[in-house]
């Protein structure tokens, strides 16, 4: 089972502490069990015989034992918490280290939101199980076994009662839980449905209102809400039986102890004190069993979570660093693709095939093509977020797979399709790729990316940026994202559809301003708008992952039907209308 393997692997560094914990819990439980024994003697030898002196001395012993027990118990709690929390921390570290080394391929496959949930919620689930086990359950076996031995010691002839009632409790709880777990699963699904409808209503609030569909939405919600309530009721009512059931078994067993105990006392085979001690052992043992079942209830969720964690830990990154990295470019500022093909493992069709082009310093290569033509995949290959299936990507004359990743990723300026800003300030975002950049460098880049005006309006470089950059508009985010790449002054600029969120005028100004600083670098531009790419030195036309044209705007209009069609679709309209 994945859960067990995960526990074993990540608890291993703490096996000494765990052993110590088991000892602490054992001693703690034994002492707790010893108390009823003393109590029995207080009653038999003290109270019944009217020996006040003995009551005082035994009472003193009980106090001492109780104190020591508490010290051990609290020490066990601290140690248990330490182990469980370290366990959680280590798994989170391992998961994070894994995910950050993933290539874009693995991130796409597992998806970012899912990775986030795994790193947080799922780890929390498993950690909770470990906490509960360490602090509450570990003592249970000691209590059960020790309690049994002591009970036997008090009176062996009564022990069959224990043998009978413990399984009854176990079976009753087992039946209840086995019926509860499927209900929980259904409940989870229905809860997801409720949340799904609410999520849709919030994200589509303008559409809902625009079409006056509030009553319809309310009906839709009422249905999923009823479904959820129904299952919650079933589960809640099953749960309702749990506690009374345990108490019933415990209490009826206690009564049985007195019933049969009386016979033994009558036969002088047992003392009253023993009877009372026996009662206490009994209760302790049954309570320990109940504690253990709590963990059983929690286990299914932890199992699912551990599977999701293990999946990440077992996913290998498809982009591994070179064994003998090349640490210098041969021809700085150049980019070349040689007969590149790329396909996802397991998929029949290649996403890209037969792509070859070269781009020298100061040159711009534009990439056009319809959705799914492979433009973003190509960009990811150049940035080595993927590796090619065959062929080679050469940056500065060196195969990117042989380049030192530090060098590679320090010489690229990527502006992704969806701009992503980090929480912090404008300055911290701009310095993301070049921590030592001065303020003038930052302002220069902001000027070029047409972002200086609004950054000034926001209050300058120290203006706050919220997580994901949600406090600036989409176009502003895009311009900041461009500025961030410009600050690096890299060898290769990659703009993945980065200008589309800008209006045409801003787009044009930005491209004009960029020209001087890209004189030493190669520039790769993915775009939909013809006006954006028209001035490129060469245009690569992609269709269905194939390179169907490469050349200047004018040349392609003659030679490439696909390109001509794209141009026509954007240009013919004004005249036709």
């Amino acid at each position: 089972m994945k859960l067990i393997r995960l526990l074993r692997l990540y608890l291993r560094p703490y096996r000494r502490l765990l052993t110590l914990l088991v000892c602490l819990q054992g001693v703690q439980a034994m002492l707790n069990l010893y108390l009823p024994n003393l109590n029995a003697r207080v009653i038999d030898e003290g109270v019944l015989k009217g020996n006040t002196h003995l009551i005082w001395s035994l009472g003193g012993q009980m106090l001492a034992v109780a104190l020591v027990q508490a010290v051990f118990a609290i020490a066990a709690v601290f140690l248990g918490a330490r182990i469980a929390m370290s366990f959680g921390r280590d798994i989170r570290n391992a998961l994070f280290a894994r995910s950050i080394r993933f290539s874009a391929r693995e991130v796409n496959q597992l998806t970012a939101p899912s990775l986030i949930t795994r790193l947080t919620n799922d780890v929390q689930q498993v950690q909770l199980l470990v906490v509960m086990s360490c602090t509450m359950v570990l003592a249970a076996p000691v209590t059960v076994v020790g309690g049994l031995i002591l009970a036997l010691h008090q009176n062996a002839r009564m022990s069959w009662l224990l043998v009978a009632s413990a399984p009854i409790l176990g079976i009753c709880l087992g039946i209840l839980i086995s019926r509860l777990i499927p209900q929980f699963r259904i409940m989870q699904e229905r809860l997801d449905n409720v949340n799904q409808v609410l999520r849709e209503q919030i994200s589509g609030i303008r559409v809902v209102r625009a079409f006056v569909r509030e009553p319809h939405e309310t009906r839709r919600f009422a249905k999923v809400n009823d479904d959820l309530t129904h299952t919650s009721l079933v589960a809640g009512r099953l749960m309702a039986g749990m506690f009374p059931l345990v108490m019933l078994v415990v209490n009826v067993s206690n009564t049985a102890v007195v019933w049969f105990g009386a016979n033994l006392i009558a036969d002088r085979a047992m003392t009253i004190g023993s009877l009372i001690a026996f009662l206490t052992y009994f209760t302790l043992i049954l309570m320990a069993i109940m504690m253990a079942t709590f963990v059983v209830v929690m286990a299914p969720r932890a199992v699912v979570s551990s599977e999701r964690i293990t999946e990440v830990l077992h996913t290998e990154t498809s982009v591994s660093p070179p064994k003998e990295p090349v640490r210098a470019f041969r021809t700085p500022g150049t980019l070349e693709l040689r007969d590149v093909a790329f396909g996802y493992p397991g998929a029949d069709a290649l996403v890209l095939e037969g792509i070859s082009f070269a781009c020298g310093p100061g040159q711009t290569t534009a990439i056009v093509g319809s959705t799914g033509a492979g433009k973003t995949s190509l960009v990811n290959l150049v940035a080595r977020l993927f590796d090619v299936t065959s062929g080679a990507v050469l940056l500065g004359g060196v195969d990117v797979r042989e380049l030192d990743p530090d060098l590679l990723w320090h010489r690229i300026g990527l502006v992704p399709q969806r701009p992503h800003l980090f929480s912090g300030t404008v300055a911290s975002n701009l310095r993301y790729g070049r921590p030592d950049a001065g303020d003038t460098d930052l302002w220069d880049s902001l000027e070029i990316s047409q972002a200086a005006d609004f950054v000034l309006a926001m209050g300058g470089l120290d203006a706050r940026i919220t997580q994901g950059g949600t406090n600036v508009s989409g176009g502003q985010r895009q311009r900041l994202s461009i500025a961030r790449a410009l600050v690096r002054r890299p060898d290769v600029y990659i703009f993945d559809d980065s200008f589309s969120a800008l209006d045409l005028a801003t787009d044009a100004r930005l491209r004009a301003a960029m020209r001087p600083i890209t004189a030493e670098s190669s520039v790769l531009v993915v775009a939909q708008r013809i006006s954006t790419i028209i001035a490129a030195d060469q245009i690569l036309v992609l269709e269905g992952g194939h390179q169907v044209g490469l050349g200047s705007h004018e040349a392609l209009r003659q030679s490439s039907p696909t390109y001509a069609e794209i141009v026509a679709s954007q240009m013919a309209q004004p005249d036709a209308a």
Binding site: M85, P244, W259, L504, S569
Partner: protein, 628 residues
């Protein structure tokens, strides 16, 4: 659960000023875990109780059942003690043979019956309570959903979608769970405490006083520990929030982190935060878990005290041995509810904090309801007039001042301007997502603020760049525009919007299930679907937002054509990015910084050589495409 939804602010749909203050409270950090305790404990508890009131008869039943169950349970040890006394009496008076077994068995039989009764009562209590809780949660959920229909859009735009979503889902879940888990136990334990105290006084007032001394002692210990734990728990949630934020940020910006060479820094930062989290959660967990052993210690001390004093009393014949036995059981029973209540307190607190957040949402200001008896045209002709309209999201930043404009039926109004100029604000006003500050917008001469919103909006069709599909079949998604639409109407709309073409390529045709995040249809196809929706609705006024990105050229042509067909014979407001739209528009509004700087027709505006001319020329810098 927990599909992460971040508040996304696409420029096309929401252009209000950034949310005031720091990120919303529930922000990215709260994966279903409300971060704080309630601020107004009493008030929230009262409101929660009021919500339970409609089911007061069930609640009364629950209380009666709790008392019954507790009374029966509490009598148990006393009777068992009587049983012991019977044995002891036999032992003292003439040896074991003298034990009155028939009396003993009678007592024990009664005890079993008591326990059975108590168990049954408790089961019915918890069973009923589950109903009360779940029904209350059902009501609360539907109230929240209802509320969603009544909050002004401003509220949604300001708070962020993720924040609201977290309130209406995570918080209600958390509340339901904590109520379900604590209510039954809390009731039982409180009554149990009372019942046990009463029984202890019945058996021996002196011993009872000894036992009761443990209450203040326990309370003191619990409060002492809890106060220390609280600080740590807060630190734990703070660090959890930080960590979650960091993870989310890193993974959604994965490509940037990698290509900007920040892997090592980010990993080091993660380990630092992770370690802080470890320290905080370690101390929070260990301190709060100390409550239980401490309570056991108090219980044991109490036990010793009772044994000693009880023994002395038995020796002096002022108490029976059965009495001591019963008392010991009571004192155990007595410590139990205390530690139970202590451990429940945390859970309950967190539930209340969630309840408070939900109530905050329910208290949010609502838009002004439609005037009583307000009427509007069922089918307007479509003459839209802006009469000296002023509006701003933020009083300090006037956005639209004194705008006047006439759109005759069937005309097209193109709204153009640079990014962030406030183009969507006009849409918000026409749809009455926001109300104007002064002036008026009229439809067919009637002030729209005096019309029922539903009537106004039924007259308007809206196709936004930010498409929205709900989880359902393609057919249902189209029919969303008109729930009464016949199959023919849906098909006709699908054909007009070029949806029909790609639907035939899908495995289940019109029954293919799509959702907003799904990949079954592309971004461009989503656009076409929303256009089909507008066709089905057949409105007289249209609001269109032309896509700027993420749609390939060929689909874009289809979208263009579909939008053009849709515009025919309808008054249209188009946020235009395309030259063809602008050129053919009857009126062009040029916006800059929230102001309408120019109004007019294409050729007039070009001749004026102002903002529009600049905008128009800018897109053809360095290119001679125009000549084509």
């Amino acid at each position: 659960m927990s599909t992460e939804t971040r508040p996304e602010t696409k420029e096309s749909t929401s252009a209000p000023p950034p949310a005031s203050g720091p990120m919303g409270r529930g922000g990215p950090g709260s994966f279903g875990m409300p971060l704080e305790r309630s601020k107004d404990f009493g008030g929230t508890l009262r409101r929660l109780t009021i919500r339970l009131l409609p089911q007061w008869y069930r609640f009364v039943a629950v209380v009666v059942l709790s008392i019954t169950s507790v009374t029966l349970t509490v009598l148990g040890p006393k009777l068992l003690g009587d049983g012991t006394n019977v044995i002891v009496k036999g032992l003292f008076h003439g040896g074991p043979g003298a034990i009155d077994f028939s009396k003993l068995h009678q007592i024990l039989f009664l005890v079993v019956l008591l326990y059975l009764g108590a168990g049954t009562a408790q089961y019915i209590q918890a069973f009923t309570l589950a109903g009360v809780v779940q029904r209350t949660m059902q009501r609360l959920r539907s109230d929240v959903e209802d509320k969603l229909n009544r909050v002004p859009l401003q509220y949604v735009d300001r708070s962020g979608r993720g924040e609201i979503l977290s309130r209406v889902t995570n918080d209600i879940d958390n509340l339901a769970q904590s109520l379900q888990q604590t209510m039954s136990q809390m009731l039982t334990n409180v009554f149990m405490l009372v019942g046990t105290v009463v029984m202890m006084f019945v058996i021996s007032p002196v011993l009872a006083v000894v036992a009761i001394v443990t209450i203040p002692v326990s309370t003191f210990i619990i409060r002492f520990i809890a106060a220390r734990a609280r600080v740590r728990f807060t630190a734990q949630w703070d660090n959890t929030g930080l960590l979650n934020g960091l993870v989310e940020e890193t993974l959604t910006g994965h490509a940037i982190v990698k290509t900007f060479g920040r892997e090592r820094e980010v990993e080091a930062e993660f380990q630092r935060t992770n370690n802080d989290l470890f320290e905080a959660s370690y101390s929070a967990q260990s301190i709060s878990s100390s409550i239980q052993p401490s309570m056991i210690l108090v219980g044991n001390l109490n036990f010793v005290a009772i044994a000693v004093i009880g023994g002395l009393k038995v020796a002096s014949h002022s108490l029976s041995i059965g009495g001591v036995q019963a008392f010991i059981q009571y004192s155990r029973q007595f410590a139990q509810p205390l530690s139970f209540l202590a451990s429940m307190a945390n859970l309950f607190q967190s539930g209340l904090a969630s309840a408070e957040r939900v109530f905050e949402f329910l208290d949010a200001e609502e838009f002004v309801p439609d005037a009583v008896g307000a009427v509007g045209p069922d089918r307007a002709k479509g003459r839209v007039v802006f009469d000296h309209v002023s509006f701003s999201y933020d009083p300090d930043r006037p956005l639209i001042t004194d705008l006047s404009l006439v759109a005759e039926p069937g005309q097209t109004v193109a709204i153009v301007g640079p990014t962030g100029a406030g183009k969507t604000t006009l849409v918000n006003l026409i749809m009455r997502f926001y109300d104007v500050d002064s002036g008026a917008i009229t439809l067919d001469g009637q002030d729209i603020s005096k019309m029922p919103r539903s009537v106004l909006r039924s007259n308007i069709g809206m196709v936004l760049q930010d498409t929205w599909l709900f989880a359902g079949s393609i057919r249902d998604n189209i029919a969303y525009g008109n729930l009464d639409a016949s199959e023919e109407q849906i098909l006709a709309a699908a054909q007009a919007a070029y949806v029909d073409r790609f639907v035939h390529g899908l495995s289940h045709g019109y029954d293919t299930v799509v959702d907003d995040e799904g990949t079954a249809v592309s971004a461009g196809e989503k656009q076409l679907l929303t256009i089909a929706r507008a066709f089905v609705a057949n409105p007289c006024i249209l609001i269109l937002d032309e896509a700027t990105s993420s749609v390939d050229t060929r689909t874009e042509v289809l979208i263009q054509n579909a939008m053009e067909a849709l515009r025919a014979e309808r008054t249209s407001f188009v946020i235009a990015h395309r030259l063809s739209t602008v050129r053919n528009a009857d009126v062009i509004l040029v916006m800059e910084d929230g102001q309408i700087v120019e109004v007019g027709h294409h050729t007039d505006l070009l001749r004026r050589d102002g903002a529009y001319a600049r905008l128009y020329n800018a897109q053809f810098t360095g290119a001679a495409v125009e000549v084509t």
